[in-house]
């Protein structure tokens, strides 16, 4: 049997399995010395070539994961932050990407080649330099209440001001603050926010602006959370309705939604909304804002269906 025929062995389905095994056996025992190498199209040579090419590029490191299809690409940015891009190859010209970056449209998207991915993400990483810097500062200096474990994927931060009030800030790709508002606002913070927003200086860091706006010397931390974020007692932030912190299937952590300063309980927006519309006889709320009484202190409360 000829070595060239090995292709036919695999690509011709006319053999039954025992026949195939027999033929392979004969091939290997009799012709073992003649077989140098053969191509079964199992290996994606193009991808391997690309990996070889990019692993010698500066600022880019490539690693294999559990299989040859799992590749990790580490892109270093201008100040040496390492951004990990996880790539999975579904076969030739079909690469899937996952990364803790804010650009979901680029992540849930298939790429044709490793080169595409490296070019796209090197550009993003360099474009987002200000964005990374601002978020990093917030995460270092403030008590971030939400997201629970902040990464660069989330473009917002909810910063602890006091037990009843958080500040919501979103960061644009250029590193500017947007959609700044209070969660569980009380009048005192609200007034400062109103006047402070007018004097917001986009040339300064977000953290500095927040400190100036609220006339704070530094950020305070909730008693249960030390700056190192070792949370022992999470009961402070449990939703009073479902008694949980995380709600399966719904994003968002419990928030101080009741504006009564004496109340001090937290709710998931979805739990509170569900209760308020249940009290109203399951009628849809006007403009998506349900109103009623706080389940805890029975003071008037309202709840937006969506988290703005």
């Amino acid at each position: 049997m000829d070595v060239d025929n090995i292709h036919d062995l695999f690509h011709n389905s006319s053999y039954s399995l025992p026949t195939l095994l027999d033929k392979l056996n004969i091939l290997f025992t009799l012709h073992i010395n003649q077989i140098d190498s053969f191509d079964l199209n199992i290996v994606d040579y193009k991808l391997l070539e690309e990996i070889k090419e990019y692993s010698s590029t500066d600022g880019i490191n490539l690693y294999f994961g559990k299989t040859l299809r799992d590749i990790k690409c580490v892109i270093e940015d201008d100040i040496g932050r390492k951004h990990e891009i996880f790539i999975y190859s579904f076969g030739s010209k079909k690469l899937h990407v996952n990364a803790t970056l804010p650009c979901s449209h680029l992540i849930n998207h298939d790429y044709e080649s490793l080169g595409d991915i490296v070019r796209t993400f090197t550009k993003i990483v360099s474009d987002l330099s200000c964005y990374f810097h601002q978020l990093e500062q917030i995460d270092q200096l403030c008590a971030v209440m939400d997201p629970e474990s902040p990464t660069f994927r989330e473009d917002y931060r909810r910063i602890y001001l006091d037990d009843r009030t958080w500040l919501h800030v979103e960061v644009t790709a250029d590193g500017l603050a947007t959609n700044i508002h209070l969660v569980g606002n009380t009048e005192e913070w609200h007034n400062k926010l109103q006047t402070g927003l007018l004097q917001w200086d986009h040339d300064k860091n977000i953290v500095e602006n927040i400190l100036t706006m609220f006339e704070l010397p530094s950020f305070s931390f909730p008693s249960a959370i030390s700056p190192t974020k070792e949370v022992d007692d999470i009961s402070v932030s449990v939703c009073r309705i479902c008694l949980c912190v995380e709600l399966p299937g719904l994003c968002g952590l419990p928030q101080p939604l009741c504006k009564n300063y004496a109340c001090g309980v937290f709710f998931h927006r979805a739990c509170l909304y569900q209760w308020l519309i249940a009290c109203a006889g399951y009628q849809l709320a006007d403009f998506g804002v349900a109103t009623g009484l706080c389940p805890n202190c029975l003071q008037p409360i309202d709840c937006d269906e969506k988290d703005n």
Partner: protein, 154 residues
């Protein structure tokens, strides 16, 4: 094990905290409740120094899958139903937080405490005035009763 529904998760947490730190005189049958999270049996002792001192009562809690948006169905069961102006001889309890004034911020523990305090503040052991009529005509589920709460003093 299948994923727990939000109501089961909440009941599980309540059960754990009630077993760990029960209010005085209150014990929950943890084995039974963990077998079936929607049906709990709670044992309650009359508070010393009140009319119910030395008595033992059994409460039954039934939960729907809408709990805590839906209030629990709470009744006294067993041989000893407390003789009290708000407790019918079939075990039904006339207590506003069990129906109209229910809130999801309440819990099994707070319901137990309300019932303990309702019993403890009683000055005369007697059945509600409409007891015999009510017991004959009522639905098995006390939540189907349109209660009107005559007084808040007991």
């Amino acid at each position: 094990m299948a994923a727990m529904s939000p109501s089961e998760r909440r009941l599980q947490k309540e059960l754990m905290s009630l077993m760990k730190e029960p209010p005085p005189g209150v014990t929950v049958d943890g084995d039974q409740a963990s077998q079936n999270l929607t049906l709990w049996t709670v044992h309650m002792e009359g508070v010393p120094g009140t009319l119910y001192e030395g008595e033992k009562f059994v409460l039954q809690f039934k939960f729907t899958n809408k709990y805590p948006f839906d209030s629990p169905e709470v009744t006294f069961v067993g041989n000893n139903i407390p003789v009290h102006p708000h407790v019918y001889s079939n075990g039904h309890i006339c207590l506003s937080i069990l129906t109209d004034d229910w809130s999801p911020a309440l819990s099994v523990q707070s319901v137990c405490l309300s019932i303990v305090s309702m019993l403890s503040s009683c000055k005369e052991k007697k059945r509600p005035p409409d007891n015999s009529f009510y017991v004959k005509t009522c639905n098995k589920n006390p939540k189907k009763t349109k209660w009107w709460y005559h007084d808040d003093s007991v």
